[in-house]
Symmetry: C2
Subunit: 198 residues, 2 copies
DNA sequence: ACCGTAGTGGCACCGAGTGCCACCGACAAG
DNA sequence: CTTGTCGGTGGCACTCGGTGCCACTACGGT
């Protein structure tokens, strides 16, 4: 068999990665994101700067955890939705489900999202990461509507539902309610054509 | 009188700025954005690298022209809209009007938007520039609805209308129709709660 | 004992920005 | 005509993010 377990334990790499993440989030929380250098994060994690950039392609990536897995889960949930459900409802359900964190993880999520939504460098970086989400959602809409994924409706649904999710995160951060409620509130506005605006 | 005209002509600065913009757009069009160095742009514009960064804080900023003026115009148009008009319609009208370019300027706009929407570094940078647009639109919605500009509805309207505008630019770039038509199509979908999705 | 393989650290390098200083041309005041 | 001011300019050195290269180490398989 090719590619079986070898090298220094299967999860050693994941462990140092987690140490880097923790150190980075801690430093970014106590100082501005841009004033903290990659050297400082590496030092705090007990590794060299070079190794830091082997685990994370970018300083900004440390804030995102395993976002690729997040996108894959979202993709799976969208694929598993029923075709009886309205398209927007299926996307809302997938967003709610993929963001259903355990209570213990909420403080960490809060800090991550606060950084992503407020630090300019991370805000910019988010656009690139979210492009994957947009692609996945657009493909889902294209499947449901039998159109191309780069058509107006699939792309608009993808971008505006992400706008809804982002807004929900903003209001969730500012208040103390549940993220699921904020997501539903935003999606309801969107699906209803903003009923409160007459 | 203090601060009267002095130095090398009032518009000399604007002229070199325009030369840099032209040189940058030309180079970015013929090569990838990231492979072109600031030195090369400065050379092509006939100035030093140091001077380049005095006119543009960032390599990415060269693509955006005078975007601040663009945002100010949008703000003025939103303020000038009638309160009889539905809120979304007023925003759509402002977006259409602020993006009403002369035919001669369309090729340049196409190239700018193509770069912004496809080059990852510029895509990321756009988020920061568009944050100003979001703020202006959210304040307009807050004024119309008598709510706070950081509330759910103003923020959601701002972000999702920008999503509509972005999608309209995408489809405009892919096809050969008019930008105003694409903007109206996207805003109609949004205001109607996506009627084509049942 | 001999390998291949994966993680690591050090080093040199590139490119984006920035702070500092010295220069130059235009203008106004003496 | 000289002097001082001011704004644009260019050069230089520096920081920092990110990368390529190489040598070292630890491990497992043969």
């Amino acid at each position: 068999m090719i590619g079986t377990v070898t090298g220094p334990a299967p999860d050693a790499r994941e462990a140092t990665r987690a140490r880097i993440e923790a150190a980075a989030l801690d430093l970014f929380t106590r100082h501005d994101f841009e004033t903290v250098t990659a050297d400082e994060v590496a030092d705090a994690a007990g590794i060299s700067r070079r190794t830091f950039f082997r685990h994370f392609a970018t300083k900004a990536d440390t804030v995102w955890g395993d976002f690729h897995a997040h996108v894959l889960r979202l993709e799976g949930m969208l694929a598993a939705t029923s075709d009886d459900q309205p398209v927007l409802a299926s996307i809302c359900a997938a967003y709610v489900e993929v963001n259903d964190y355990a209570d213990a993880d909420l403080p960490l999520l809060r800090e991550r999202m606060r950084l992503i939504l407020t630090e300019p460098a991370l805000q910019a970086h988010s656009q690139v990461r979210y492009a994957d989400v947009d692609r996945v959602v657009a493909e889902h809409v294209a499947r449901r509507t039998g159109t191309r994924a780069d058509g107006l409706v699939p792309r608009l649904v993808a971008l505006s539902t992400r706008a809804a999710a982002t807004t929900a995160f903003e209001t969730w951060l500012a208040g103390d309610g549940s993220l699921a409620d904020d997501l539903h509130a935003a999606f309801d506005q969107l699906a209803g054509g903003f009923p409160t605006l007459r």
